[in-house]
Amino acid sequence: MMSKNNLALGQKFSVLIVDDDKIIRRIHKMLLTKFEFESHAVENGKEAVDLYISGKNFDLILMDMEMAVMDGPKATRELRSMGINNVIVGVTSRGSTSEKQAFTEAGLDYCVEKPLSSETITSLLKELAKKY
């Protein structure tokens, strides 16, 4: 029997939240918990890349666009060049169409506006279910 987001019995989707905004990290973590995701949060792209280098893996990455140390587009390019093919969703509150386009071309699967809503998570879940 599958629950709303389990890949198989007993398995949960894992999510990496990559955002320099403490409030966004808190809200998104809480929202994801409601959807029974397991989540981990880091403050910038470099921390995300380092996690993967250390052998960690996630089903979904929520990647903020603008961050100090390493921004979203750079982190996304690095992860893709490492052969990481998990779903990466860009999450941004800013950016012209061209900036969002450039972010998407860095290797995103989707780009959504923040803060995330329940409706956005539900749509993402449907897409994740197709992929996995």
């Binding site: 966004i24 809200i27 800013r94 803060p115 329940s118």
Partner: protein, 150 residues
């Protein structure tokens, strides 16, 4: 009596929505994340916001004193502040941030300074209103539990 207090609380919240201080959709989403394990989640997030954004407000203030103004830096700070403000549903603040960012784009220093003064007023005003709201909500919360039929 309990129903009256609930009604008062609901009216306080409605007033914050009607006066444009809070975005109905975003604030309601935050409230829906509250549960028995996290009954004060919204208050926690708002407290975190005011604590975290105080630093940003100070950075912007200092940056506005420089001559010439670094609009790219101001734009960056304000985008951060806008993002956090949106996440708690602070509607008036979001609008002030958007206006400030527009002035940054056109290099209008006076516009930035004027908008920032207005923004600080809205920021303080919202803080007081939310403190009052959460204080009342905390009183209504325990009363609701005490009156709940067993």
């Amino acid at each position: 009596m309990e129903r009256n207090l609930h009604r008062q609380l609901a009216n306080m919240k409605k007033s914050l929505f009607d006066q444009g201080y809070l975005d109905h959709e975003q604030f309601t989403q935050l409230e829906e994340l509250q549960d028995e394990a996290n009954p004060n989640f919204v208050e926690e997030v708002v407290t975190l916001y005011y604590r975290d954004s105080a630093r940003l407000i100070q950075n912007i203030e200092q940056a506005l004193e420089k001559n010439p103004l670094d609009f790219a830096k101001l734009d960056n700070y304000m985008h951060q502040f806008k993002g956090s403000s949106c996440s708690i549903g602070a509607r008036k603040l979001k609008n002030e941030c958007t206006q400030f960012i527009e002035y940054c784009k056109t290099g209008n220093g006076e516009g930035c300074k004027r908008t920032f003064q207005q923004l600080k007023k809205e920021y303080s005003s919202l803080k007081k209103k939310l403190e009052h709201y959460f204080q009342f909500a905390r009183q209504v919360g325990p009363l609701e539990k005490a009156c709940r039929p067993k």
